[in-house]
Amino acid sequence: MNSQFKKGVLDLCVLAFLSNGDSYGYNLADCMASKIQVADGTVYPILRKLASEGYVDTYLKESQNGPPRKYYHLTELGKTKLDKDRAEWEEFSKAVDEVLSSDKEDRGDE
């Protein structure tokens, strides 16, 4: 799929994923990559950006076997951002759907 499509909404996906509960980098990367087919590495710059903007914060938690892992947690600011971006995305994707389906109709009429 067109990678330009994905870039814009990955932030939103990461926020949405974290709204279901805290998670660590590998888990996030794994889930994102399997669903949207992006490289595992793409989530890390996003997580870092979101953290610097205060949308997520991080803490270390012991793992069962191995060194502690960095967990990401959605902040209140992040929740607000998620709601806002989700609404914008829904509006946008609806508009795109409408344009695409009207395009089909026009062609059908000819």
Binding site: Y24, G25, Y26, N27, A29, D30, A33, V38, A39, D40, G41, T42, Y44, P45, I46, L47, R48, K49, S52, S63, N65, G66, P67, R69, K70
Partner: protein
């Protein structure tokens, strides 16, 4: 590519970022490798899955913490959208009425006084020169010229004071107006 090779190439690509930031990123990616190995993947599989290190580094650099100036500007723009802050508005208005405007008028009046002194001295110099030229001061031409020159230097000094005074008054007024706008929308932080 194994774990070490991937981290080495990422480290190279992160050049230009601060040491702390690069170290942080490398530790995140190291953790990713360790988690992947725990999940039963090989280092090569994980490196492959992570994608191009140069591309990742580019994204990290794009998301770099914004300079404080830009951040503050963004904060201001956001606050502007949500409308004025009640406390901020009250504070700005009271501050303007009781402090800023009286102070501004006082300073402006003082500078205006300095300006009139400047013009007054210029007038005296004019009279002295006119007197010398017309021969009215025939008995003490030298003293008149000397007095005119002295006054001229003094007047230049007065002019510099006045010029700097006005310059900083307007500069400070600008800063004050900007600050008031910020408080108006964001309140006191």
């Amino acid at each position: 590519m194994n774990k070490k090779e991937y981290l080495d190439s990422l480290e190279k690509e992160l050049e230009g970022m601060s040491y702390k930031e690069a170290k942080d990123i490398l530790s995140d990616i190291t953790e990713h490798f360790d988690s992947g190995i725990q999940a039963g993947k090989t280092e090569e599989e994980i490196a492959e899955g992570l994608g191009d290190a140069a591309e990742m580094a580019r994204e990290f650099k794009k998301g770099l913490t914004l300079p404080a100036v830009i951040k503050n500007k963004q904060k201001f723009e956001d606050a502007k959208k949500t409308g004025p802050d009640t406390f901020g508005v009250v504070f700005v208005v009271l501050m303007a009425i009781f402090v800023a405007i009286p102070l501004w008028i006082t300073i402006f009046a003082a500078l205006f006084f300095v300006a009139s002194v400047f013009v007054g001295i210029l007038g005296i110099i004019g009279v002295l020169i006119a007197g010398v030229v017309s021969g009215m001061f025939s008995g003490f031409v030298l003293s008149a010229i000397f007095a005119a020159l002295t006054l001229l230097f003094f007047d230049i000094f007065v002019f510099v004071c006045m010029f700097l005074g006005f310059k900083y008054l307007f500069k400070l007024t600008g800063v004050y107006v900007k600050w008031s706008k910020k408080v108006w929308y964001q309140g006191l932080e």
